[in-house]
Amino acid sequence: MNSMLDNAEKLRVKDLIVRFYTYEGIVKAVEKANLNLIKGETLGIVGETGSGKSVTALTIMALTPPPGKVEGGSILFQRATGEVVDILKLNEAVLLKIRGKEISMIFQEPNAALDPLYTVGDQIAEALLTHRRAEMLEAARELEAVESRGLWKILKNIPYFRERFKEKLLKKAAHKEIIELLRLMEIPDPERIINAYPHELSGGMQQRIVIAIALACSPAVLLADEPTTNLDVTVQAQILDLIRRLKERFKTSVIYITHDMGVIAELSDRVAVMYAGNVVEVAPTREIFKNPLHPYTKALLDSIPRPGSPFKSIPGIVPNLVNPPSGCRFHPRCSYVMDRCIEGTPPLIEVSKGHYVACFLHGGA
C-alpha cells in the first residue's frame, strides 16, 4: 500500500501495533490493526472490552497510555493545510497543534474527564485560549475601549497590571464564545452553568461540557470513546442526537467507539469490528447487519437480546493478550475453525465493494 491517503480519506490507521509492557508480560493490545476514516462519515468501532478500541483511539492522538508502546504501523492524517502526516512520527510541538484543534476526543466517564477543581467555563476556555488565541486577542482588543474605565484607565499603563488587564479582556472575550458554545450544546441557563464546577452538574450535562471542549475549535475529526455508556437511557438518546447534529454543523468526521450494536445501527455510516486487537471486519452499516461475514461479527449480532428468543452469548472468553491464540485470534471460540486458522493470520481483504473481512472462510491466500 502507498503512504498517501485517497482523496476521500481523512485518516488511515495502517498495520498498527501497540504493546503494553507489564509485570505479567507483554500485552499485545493492538496487533496490525487497519482502519480508515472517510471525510464527513461516522465510523463505528465495535468490540468487547479489551479488544483494543480505546487504545487505538488514544494512539490516534499520540496519547497511548503508559506502559503502552507503539511498535509498528502508521497513522496517516490529512491536516487542515492539506498536508498528509504520519501522526506517529510527529514531534510534540506539532502534536500540540493537532490535539484539540484538528482531532478531539470525548470520553466514557464525563465526570472523570473534567478536572474537579476548575469551573467548566475555565476548562472550555483552556481549549479556546490554546488554539484560538489570535482570534480571542482580536476580540479582546475590541473590548479594550469599553473596559478601559475607572481605575483600569490608570492601572493598565503599569506593566504588571497591563498583563492583568489583558488577561481580564481575554477572559471576557472567551466568555462570550463559551456562552455561545454552551447554547449549541443545548445547555439551559449557560450564564449560570459557565461558573459551575463539574460536581454540581448531572452526568448528561457533564458530557455536554466535555463535547463543548472537544468542539470548541471545530476539529476535523472527533473520537468518541463510548460517550453514552455510563449515562441513563433517556440521556443517552439526547447525547447521541446532539452528537449527530453537531457533526453536521461542524462538518466533523467521527470515530464512534462502542460495544452497543444498537448505537452503531443508529449513528454510523460504516462499521469496523475489532476482536482482541485485530480489525476483523469493515463494512457499511447496512451491509454488516444484512450480511455479516466474520464468525465473530455474526456471533456479536446474534448476542443482541431480542424479545421472545433466548439470550445467546458467544462461547468462550476474550483471550489473554499476553499469550494470544496463534493464527486467527478468534479461532478457539469459532465454530468454523480450520487447521489453517491455527497456523496463519488471515489478512483483511476486500470481498465485495467496501466490505473487508479477515477470515479464511472468505478467501485469503
Partner: protein, 345 residues
C-alpha cells in the same frame, strides 16, 4: 453558593468548642493515673513529714472526686492560671511563654522548608517516574527518613561546629545574648530573627540565622521524606486519571497539564500531612532542641515529665492539644479554599 461556604466555616468553627473540651478532659484524666500521695509528694521537701503530704492533698483538693478537680482546674485555666511548675521554679504559663519562641522560630523555618522541598521533590519524582532522578530522590528521602535525629544532629554538629568552627549550638552567640540582656535590644516577639529586623540590627539577625542552620537542616532532612512520598504517590495517582488525558487531548502542553491540573489536585492530601507536621514541630522537638541546646517547648516538656511535674506536663499537653486543634482547623479551611466539592458541597 457563598452561603454554603459561610455555613461550612461556621460549622467548622463551632466544632472547635467540643474538641477543646474533649482535649482538656483527656489531658486532665492523666492526673488520675497517680494517687493523691504521689501527686503531692513533689512539693514535699522532707520525705518523713507525712502530715505535710496530707496538708497538700487537702489544700489542693487532690482527694476530691474527678469532676470536681476537673472543673476547678478548668476554671483556673480560664483565668490563665496553669499552676506552679516545681521543676522549673516558675508559673507554668510563664514557662510556656518564655520557651515557646524558640520552638516557634525553629518550626517557622523548618516547616515551610520541609513542606516546599517535599512537594517539589515529590512532584519531580512522580513526573520522572522510574528514571534515575526518581530513584535518586527516593533514595535520598528514605535515607533521611531512617536517620535518627540524635545521630544526624551530632554528625552535623561534629562536622560544622567541631570541624569548621561554624554554626554553634544555642540560639545566639554570647555577645548577642549579652546585648539582649543589656536592654539596648528590644525584645518584641522572642523570635530573634524577627526582633533583630525590628531593631534594625543586621549582626544579631545573621547570628540568630546561623544558629538556626543546623537544627533546621536536621529537621528538614528527616521530615522531607514524609511530604515527598505522599506528594509522589498522590501525583502519580492524579497523572493516571482521565481528566489528565482529557487535558492533553485538548492540546495543553505538558507544563500546564502538570502544574495547573495534576499538581493542584495532588496537593489535597499533602495539606493534611503538612498541617500535622507543622503542628508536631510547633509542639516541641525534644531531641533536636536538646542536641542543639535550642531551649524550646519540647526540651522543657521532657525535663518536666522526668520530674513528675504534673502541672507543667498538663500545661505542655494543653498547648500541644490547642496547636493541633488549630492546625486541623486551618487544614479544613484550606481544603475548602482548594476544593470546590467541599466549599460548595
Amino acid at each position: 453558593m457563598g452561603s454554603n461556604l459561610r455555613t461550612y466555616i461556621a460549622r467548622r468553627l463551632l466544632l472547635v468548642i467540643p474538641t477543646l473540651i474533649g482535649v482538656t478532659l483527656l489531658i486532665f484524666a492523666v492526673t488520675q493515673l497517680f494517687d493523691p500521695v504521689q501527686r503531692a509528694s513533689l512539693y514535699i521537701r522532707d520525705p518523713k513529714n507525712l502530715r505535710a503530704i496530707d496538708e497538700v492533698i487537702r489544700k489542693y483538693g487532690l482527694d476530691q472526686p474527678f469532676y470536681i478537680q476537673y472543673f476547678s482546674w478548668l476554671s483556673q485555666l480560664l483565668e490563665g492560671n496553669l499552676g506552679w511548675s516545681q521543676s522549673l521554679h516558675m508559673r507554668v504559663i510563664d514557662a510556656l511563654v518564655t520557651r515557646a519562641p524558640a520552638t516557634i522560630e525553629l518550626a517557622m523555618y523548618a516547616a515551610p522548608l520541609t513542606i516546599i522541598l517535599g512537594i517539589r521533590l515529590g512532584k519531580l519524582s512522580a513526573v520522572k517516574k522510574d528514571t534515575w532522578v526518581d530513584h535518586f530522590t527516593r533514595a535520598f528521602a528514605i535515607i533521611g527518613w531512617s536517620l535518627p535525629a540524635f545521630w544526624l544532629g551530632i554528625v552535623l554538629l561534629a562536622f560544622f561546629y567541631g570541624g569548621l568552627g561554624i554554626f554553634s549550638p544555642g540560639r545566639l552567640s554570647p555577645w548577642a545574648e549579652a546585648l539582649i540582656r543589656s536592654g539596648e535590644f528590644k525584645v518584641y516577639t522572642g523570635l530573634y530573627t524577627i526582633d533583630s529586623i525590628l531593631n534594625l540590627n543586621a549582626a544579631v539577625f545573621l547570628d540568630a540565622l546561623s544558629h538556626l542552620v543546623l537544627p533546621v537542616t536536621t529537621l528538614t532532612i528527616i521530615d522531607v521524606a514524609l511530604i515527598m512520598r505522599i506528594m509522589r504517590s498522590s501525583m502519580l495517582e492524579q497523572l493516571g486519571k482521565t481528566y489528565i488525558i482529557a487535558a492533553r487531548a485538548r492540546g495543553l502542553d505538558e507544563k500546564t497539564v502538570v502544574d495547573k491540573h495534576a499538581t493542584k489536585n495532588a496537593l489535597i492530601p499533602v495539606i493534611t500531612i503538612s498541617g500535622l507536621l507543622t503542628a508536631g514541630m510547633l509542639s516541641g522537638m525534644v531531641i533536636t532542641e536538646t542536641i542543639f541546646e535550642f531551649k524550646g517547648v519540647g526540651y522543657f516538656a521532657a525535663h518536666a515529665a522526668t520530674q513528675l511535674d504534673i502541672p507543667a506536663v498538663l500545661g505542655f499537653a494543653l498547648l500541644t492539644g490547642i496547636i493541633f486543634v488549630i492546625a486541623n482547623l486551618i487544614v479544613d479551611l484550606l481544603y475548602a479554599y482548594v476544593d470546590p466539592r467541599i466549599r460548595l458541597g
